[in-house]
């Protein structure tokens, strides 16, 4: 079964078509890179897929639920981490976990056991009662991701999750992403770092609201006769008329 399937998904704002007839599928447990220059329509597409915004036309099924007809069910079965850091800075590590897990209806006994295990696996035990604002940036990002998948969603949407993070922490962050994918969580990720695009199972590149290319990184490089994903991206982004 596909974790995400869209069919001619379109979102217009007045005369402006932000997302133009997207049709693609993402398999369960896949790490799917969703690339595109700024203004290509990535964020709008993610908002539609998360049930935050209604599509103008077309269809999208996420985690087995139609985003137009059943946005509430979609919301229950996805996780989300935005490009902005999405934890509460003035709450402690544990309070953040408890709040978000509570929102997704996890039982409190389960929250306790699971958060202990989580903090242990992240080596965070000593920081459990620390306010999030006093954690190093990289730790915050890792924690935000762990919180986003705490309720074991079918799909997790990551909107530029590693913005402003040093390369070492980015590596560690991707380790977490792999571990989540191994557990069967589908990862839908946007990024500006082309080296990260290489880590994805498959990558789509959006230009002016449309998907211009979609394949595994190796396939894309062969097709565009490019050395790296960066080169592939440049070739495609050059065609953009918007912006």
């Amino acid at each position: 079964m596909n974790a995400i399937a869209t069919e001619l998904l379109t979102k217009q704002f007045g005369a402006f078509t932000a997302v133009d007839r997207l049709s693609f599928e993402v398999k369960r447990g896949e790490i799917f890179g969703f690339l595109g220059a700024n203004g290509a329509g990535k964020t709008t597409a993610i908002r539609v897929l998360c049930g935050l915004s209604k599509p103008t036309s077309g269809r999208a099924v996420v985690a087995g639920f139609d985003v137009t007809r059943d946005p509430e069910q979609v919301k229950r079965h996805i996780g989300y981490m935005s490009q902005k850091f999405s934890l509460y800075e003035d709450l402690t590590v544990r309070e953040n976990i408890r709040l978000y897990a509570g929102i997704y209806g996890t039982r409190s006994r389960e929250i306790r056991a699971k958060s202990d295990a989580l903090l242990e696996s992240l080596n965070f035990e000593a920081w459990r009662d620390t306010l999030v604002k006093s954690l190093p940036q990289g730790w915050k990002q890792k924690l935000a991701f762990s919180v986003a998948i705490f309720h074991e969603p079918a799909v997790v949407f990551l909107d530029e999750p590693t913005g402003g993070v040093d390369p070492l922490t980015r590596r560690q962050f991707w380790e977490l992403i792999y571990r989540a994918a191994d557990r069967g969580i589908t990862v839908f990720v946007t990024t500006h770092y082309m080296d990260e695009a290489e880590y994805c199972d498959r990558v789509s590149i959006m230009v002016d609201g449309r998907i211009e290319a979609l394949d595994a990184p190796r396939g894309l490089k062969e097709r565009f006769r490019a050395e790296s994903m960066d080169e592939v991206f440049r070739q495609l982004a050059r065609k953009a008329r918007r912006n």
């Binding site: 209604k54 919301k75 989300y80 935005s82 902005k84 509460y88 408890r98 978000y100 039982r107």
Partner: protein
């Protein structure tokens, strides 16, 4: 899947608890919420006052006699006037006024008593420093009344038919400024806390991106917002109680009318102010903008048009019409009626209706804005 159906009460509690953490962990927020109201009430009640007390009097009495002493004693017996200097010449009066040693000189003519009792009319002059005309007018009026009373006692008018209008000041016999300020400050503080603090706290979540995460979650927006305003609602009630206690026990402004209805109309106003906060948060994107909108666009008109500083009755028709759009104006007017005048609740029906309508309108607009954002 190992998930229970969503229990709204526990989710609400979790959100509200989080909101309390935000408030109590930020020293600035807690200062604004709990300390500022107390300071404002005391400032408005004591420091910023239009009452006149301890006016410094210079006395020039060339030929003292029983009558001049009686008049001077009557004047100085009140709290309002203190004898600052005894003067000996008209030039001395001027000098003392210029140096600020006195605010007002009381000058008797020679042979005052004789004139008063035989030759009629005896004259006494008040020389006043009118730099601040309002204050000067206030205390001269007061002095004139005292002098006239003393004069009547000394030499009762011959005819029994003399006519004198006597003014009785109802509701606020001592002309205490606190009577006017307490309702105003109540309106101002509740508005500030509810509208400004809620709008800022919602917009802050927009800024940090946490609101987005909440909207992607299965929690319903209405529940999120309700849980968000709950702490402010509670803190406003605490503030209401504080202000009322302070005004009764510290400023000596009693609650003349029904406490129950006073609290009821205050709750209504709190709810309206909260909906202003929510509305502001739907039209602004940054905390600074939210603060400016609720600070400048809401506070200034409240200060200027709600009757807190300038009475609504004295405004030109245009401004009076404008003031009708300001919820605080209705609230302040209702509090004046209920608390100071002790009027029955039926009198404030118009105020209650105006507040209810504004609140309903704001909630409707906020929901509409919110839906537009989502679609």
């Amino acid at each position: 899947m190992n998930k229970r159906p969503f229990s709204t009460p526990s989710l609400f509690a979790a959100f509200a608890r989080k909101e309390f953490y935000h408030i109590f962990r930020d020293r600035r927020t807690i200062m604004i919420l709990l300390v500022m109201p107390v300071i404002q009430v005391i400032l408005f009640g004591f420091a910023i006052t239009t009452e006149v007390k301890h006016v410094k009097i210079g006395l020039l009495d060339p030929v003292p006699d029983v009558a001049t002493r009686r008049v001077a004693d009557r004047l100085l017996a009140s709290d309002y006037f203190d004898l600052a200097r005894v003067l000996h010449s008209p030039a001395g009066v001027e000098r003392a006024l210029r140096r600020g040693e006195i605010d007002m000189a009381l000058v008797f003519e020679p042979r005052f008593q004789r004139r008063l009792l035989r030759d009629g009319p005896a004259r006494v002059q008040l020389v006043v420093d009118a730099t601040d005309p309002n204050t000067a007018a206030l205390f001269t009026g007061h002095a004139r009344q005292i002098i006239a009373d003393a004069g009547r006692e000394l030499a009762p008018p011959a005819g029994a038919t003399s006519l004198a209008a006597e003014t009785r000041l109802l509701h606020n016999p001592a002309m205490k400024a606190a009577y006017n300020f307490v309702p105003g400050v109540m309106g101002l503080i509740l508005m500030l806390i509810c509208a400004m603090m809620t709008s800022i706290s919602i917009v802050r979540e927009k800024e940090t991106g946490t609101l987005e995460v909440l909207l992607v979650s299965p929690a319903r927006p209405l529940l999120i917002i309700a849980a968000k305003i709950m702490p402010y609602l509670l803190l406003s009630c605490v503030n209401l109680a504080t202000i009322l206690l302070l005004s009764v026990h510290v400023l000596d402004v009693p609650v003349a009318g029904s406490l129950f209805w006073l609290v009821a109309i205050s709750l209504l106003f709190i709810i309206v102010s909260l909906s202003i906060g929510i509305f502001v948060s739907t039209v602004t994107r940054s905390q600074v903008a939210a603060m400016l909108v609720s600070g400048m666009l809401l506070m200034m008109p409240v200060m200027l048009l709600s009757g807190l500083i300038f009475p609504v009755e004295g405004m030109p028709p245009f401004l009076r019409g404008l003031s009708c759009l300001i919820p605080a104006r209705w609230y302040i007017s209702a509090v004046k009626r209920l608390m100071i005048e002790g009027a029955p609740v039926t009198v404030i029906a118009r105020e209650a209706l105006a507040l209810t309508c504004t609140g309903a309108l704001l909630v409707a607009l906020s929901i509409k804005n919110f839906k537009n954002r989502l679609s």
